[in-house]
């Protein structure tokens, strides 16, 4: 780990106060483009990801499909989902590269209660900082795409970094570089959207996919991984891509309502105690009531004495 900070930070999880240095530099938003229609399911991106990130090797799971395993894992950040779909009597073999979507409004970051465990850089990459992670797993439930995965050994959560180390040094992500069919591209968000729209139009006009379109869900503010789908009206077909990904509203209430209200109440309590102390003063012990003995009993006691 070097001490140089190469990417400027945009958002920090659970960080009180403003983000230091935010808005002091210009930034270009980066984006991965995944053309699902030209993916051949070769899994070069999966292997390139494992190789670049030096992930330990693991057993794969045979599940009656060509899919490597049922879902991504803490040490398997990039998975091609294989779906056999029947469309008007014809088999369509859908292959979608499943990985972190790097949302503009990330649910993981919003849910995270640990200061600095999740950051978003100004180029759009959402990155986990494992040294600040407390392993609570809230990001897992906050993610609408089921991406962050927990490691039982380290008690931390891991996910795709969009190769922030490579991108920070001016390289493309490892998966993008490997892709032999060119269904993956990398560039600025604007360029990738333009490319995706062109490709979607091509699919509509030439290839006859009337519902072809671009997947860039606005419900999470857009993503920094965009898909071109044969049928953009049914993203669920592609291995469970949500058509309206939403961050669970409980996190919004918690972070934007319950937490500030609770802090305010606690502060109010402390100030109330203080002002009570100043205005009313400390609580003093009450003087004990004077107990006077009965004169008759005193008399008899005195007479009994020798």
């Amino acid at each position: 780990m070097s001490d140089e900070r190469v990417l400027q930070i945009q958002q920090i999880s659970a960080h009180p106060g403003p983000v230091p240095g935010r808005g002091t530099q210009r930034a270009v938003e980066v984006c991965k483009y995944v053309d699902v229609t030209t993916c051949i399911g070769c899994k070069a991106c999966e292997v390139a990801c494992v190789e670049w990130n030096d992930h330990p090797f693991r057993e794969t799971t045979f599940d009656d499909t060509y899919q490597t395993m049922p879902s991504t894992d803490w040490n398997y950040w990039n998975l091609i989902k294989f779906v056999e779909h029947e469309n008007a009597g014809a088999l369509m073999w859908l292959m979608r590269k499943d990985q972190c979507m790097h949302c503009a409004d990330p649910g993981c970051l919003r849910a995270c209660p640990a200061d600095g465990a999740i950051v978003q850089y100004t180029n759009g990459i959402v990155d986990f900082q494992q040294e600040n992670c407390i392993g609570c797993g809230y990001c897992i439930s906050g993610c609408p795409f089921d991406i962050p995965k927990f490691n039982e050994g380290t008690k931390k959560v891991y996910k795709c970094t969009l190769c922030s180390d490579r991108v920070g040094q001016g390289l493309e992500p490892a998966c993008i570089k490997a892709c032999p069919t060119g269904c993956l591209h990398f560039g600025t968000k604007g360029d990738m959207l333009a490319l995706a729209n062109t490709r979607a139009q091509q699919l509509v006009q030439i290839s006859g996919f009337r519902n072809a379109g671009v997947y860039d869900p606005p419900t999470v503010g857009g993503t920094h991984v965009i898909y071109v789908l044969h049928d953009a009206t049914q993203p669920e077909l592609y291995g469970g891509l949500p058509s309206n990904p939403v961050i669970p509203p409980s996190y919004t209430y918690w972070k934007w309502l319950a937490k500030p209200a609770g802090l305010f109440a606690a502060l109010l309590g402390i100030f109330a105690v203080f002002f009570h102390r100043v205005t009313v003063g400390p609580k003093r012990p009450q003087p004990e009531p004077v107990v006077t003995e009965h004169p008759d009993e005193a008399e008899t006691k005195r007479s009994e004495q020798p």
């Binding site: 070069a44 390139a48 190789e51 970094t161 180390d165 570089k177 032999p180 502060l267």
Partner: protein
């Protein structure tokens, strides 16, 4: 308000403020250092299929005399005209081809009828191969075919080339094998 109260107030207020969320410690978030930042890049060819993609092998160290290089990463060569930086899953896993405990580093032979491979020296391997080539050629050499034409061919030996064979190697291979009369040539480029 006397002096004692003022000091108490300051301490309590400060504690409350720091406990409830004004953190002045600098925020440190950083990306991982690029693992290939100063590695030595060596161009090579993927050995798997006939496409012969160009790869870059990243090794530790800057080729200094006392540094023994070790492969740390392999990825596609963007300047190679065939693959322009891309690789298939087999090519992308080339690092595991190099750093593999099961990689063969010496010649092995499985004798006829045996169920195991045994290690042999290069000298012994060369000798045995030469002996077998000579014997096979002597047994299967055809000087004249059934029509009486001189053909001088050796039908018992074939040759299979690989995708990383250079022009020079292929030239030598063809010369040597044609010289023996072998006419069955195949290459991985057709597989």
């Amino acid at each position: 308000m006397d002096r004692r109260t003022f000091i108490k107030t300051t301490v309590a207020g400060g504690a409350a403020v720091s406990a409830f969320g004004f953190n002045l410690a600098p925020v440190r978030a950083q990306t991982q250092a690029l693992k290939i930042a100063r590695t030595t890049e060596t161009r090579s060819t993927c050995p798997y299929c006939s496409v012969s993609c160009g790869v870059i092998i990243h090794t530790l160290g800057d080729k200094a005399k006392n540094a023994i290089p070790q492969v740390v990463h392999v990825e596609g060569d963007p300047d190679h005209p065939i693959n322009r930086g891309t690789l298939c899953p087999k090519g992308a896993s080339l690092e595991q081809d190099i750093l593999n405990e099961r990689r063969l580093l010496k010649p092995q032979v499985r004798r006829p009828g045996s169920d195991r491979w045994e290690d042999i020296s290069w000298e012994q391997a060369f000798d045995e191969i030469a002996r077998k080539v000579k014997d096979t050629r002597d047994q299967t050499f055809v000087e004249k075919d059934e029509k009486g034409l001189t053909v001088n061919r050796c039908e018992g030996i074939g040759w299979i080339g690989g995708c990383t064979d250079t022009n020079e190697l292929n030239y030598l291979a063809v010369k040597a094998m044609r010289g023996m009369g072998a006419c069955y040539f195949e290459t991985q480029a057709r597989v």
